[in-house]
Amino acid sequence: MPSPAIEFLGLTKDYASGFWRKRLRRSLDNLTFQVEEGEVFGFLGPNGAGKTTTLKLLMGLIFPTAGTARVRGRSIDDIAMHREIGFLPEQPYFYDYLTGRELLDYYARFFGYSPAERRDRVARFLERVGLSDAATVQLRKFSKGMLQRVGIAQAILHDPQVVFLDEPMSGLDPVGRREVRDIILDLKRQGRTVFFSTHILSDAEMLCDRVAVLVGGKLQGVGAPGEIVSMEVYAMEILFEAREGRSLPSSLSQHEHSTQTGGRYRIEVPEADLYAALDHLRASDARILSVTPLRPTLEDYFFRLVGRGKAVARDAAEVASR
């Protein structure tokens, strides 16, 4: 049976704080789940949830207090594991005295390619991230978006099977975000596993096969975005225009979930009341533009969890202060 792409086995990290009296703060608590080969996996959580800590543990930048993790069956302590992975750090910063081409050539040297293969790869990957024209420009003259793109190029330069991206869309304009999305989808088409942390939930919803939600260092749930959020319709949204000179029944115009922009109205009604509301609109000769079922989004789920996490933390603080 093939090993999963990534296995977290009770990964835990404590940080010591304080100068004289060292106190331990748990940043990551017993993280245990798996990511399968070929998945695009979203690692979600608010700032300070432990997402970057997890990625730093995987990269060997920090060491776990307890537990471990494996990538394609190899322990994170095994240097050979690093041949199989690519990593884009959050807000990447590279040697700014190098040009884009020199930077990629430098990283390619760690994989033992011949000079001809290095040249070919560097040119190919600069092209792939749209930086061919900036190949000879020093990185100190790169914009944030360009740095992010060269960062992605260095992460996938050696065709890794598993790619880790820490907040890859952060700080990018819509065009940049779309380019990153396209690269992630392209990697998926090639059968690679992509594990990316983000707090931009629409991106996760659009791209991910599965997601994990982390709050306060604790795993809150793992599953497909559709499994994690209930697919049940909680309301129906009706978008319509009122005819000139015709007034709307007060049950619709003064509905508590009604908003008006110019002559357009948007109301949310329970599913059971939909037909009654449509009858009212027909009687008023309103022009119905759309009727859409509303389901909870990943964002709603996320906010609920974060709110719960904060409440738990608040309760714990109150108990501690008594």
């Binding site: 990593f87 990447p92 760690f110 260095q154």
Partner: protein, 259 residues
């Protein structure tokens, strides 16, 4: 044999060149030109000695400043700017990174020192005397300076693995100064009846790098020959000391959580 330290070393050298570190050569060239003109006019018969003394001292000081100030920043800069994050995600061990950083700065110092030695030779040529065999001592003195710089670089790298650049600078400078007087520290132990002080002095003598034996500037200025035994002894001493310091630095750095 891993080629990875070599890859890191070449990049470290390239960084130094692009950060205009070698611009110190301009100051050195101006100083040697000025000294050659001045000395040629006022000190009849001792021009050679003055130029060699001045030139070798300047090579040593310029090198020391570079070794300490760049050395303490080698690791710290990569951590602070987080360039280490993407680098260590590649198949590179931490000791390979450290060895590469050390070799890269050493390469920079060798190039810098070689160019300054050429400047010194030009100044000697200017004050008017054909080169003789005993001038080879100057090259030995330069070689000893390079060995010292290798030791200082290793120490700077070692301290920077667990302390801030400011503290690392102070520690390295302190070790250098104490190392110059290490023979005196040993002698202090000999003249006391306290066993504790005797042992303490002896321990310090063996722990501190012995820079005393690396100073051949006076011998070079006076055209005295330097025994081969001393050359071998200093080479072996520096190689072993540097290796031990780098192993200790690697052990510390390999277990460190990066911010």
């Amino acid at each position: 044999m891993s080629v990875i330290p070599g890859v890191v070393a070449v990049n470290t050298f390239r960084e130094a060149v692009r950060d205009r570190v070698l611009y110190n050569l301009i100051f050195f060239a101006l100083m040697m030109t000025g000294a050659a003109i001045l000395v040629g006019g006022i000190s009849i018969g001792i021009e050679r000695m003055v130029i060699i003394n001045l030139g070798l001292s300047a090579i040593s000081i310029f090198g020391l400043v570079m070794a300490i100030f760049i050395g303490v920043g080698l690791v710290h800069k990569e951590m602070e700017k987080r360039t280490l994050y993407s680098l260590l995600s590649k198949p590179i061990r931490r000791w390979e990174f450290l060895a590469g950083k050390f070799a890269g700065l050493l390469l920079t110092l060798v190039v810098n020192t070689s160019l300054m030695t050429l400047g010194l030779a030009a100044a000697l040529y200017y004050v008017g005397r054909p080169f003789v065999l005993s001038d080879a001592t100057i090259l030995v003195a330069v070689y000893f300076i390079l060995l010292q710089l290798a030791l200082v670089t290793a120490l700077a790298l070692f301290f920077s693995c667990f302390s801030s650049p400011l503290l690392s600078t102070l520690f390295t400078l302190g070790m250098y100064i104490a190392g110059i007087f290490s023979t005196d520290i040993h002698d202090v132990g000999m003249f006391t009846s306290s066993l504790a002080i005797q042992w303490g002095a002896r321990l310090l003598y063996y722990l501190l790098p012995n820079f005393h034996n690396f100073n051949a500037i006076a011998a070079a200025a006076h055209g005295e020959s330097i025994p081969f035994a001393l050359i071998w002894q200093n080479t072996a001493y520096a190689a072993v000391y540097v290796a031990l310091v780098l192993i200790a630095a690697s052990a510390i750095f390999s277990g460190r959580n990066l911010k």
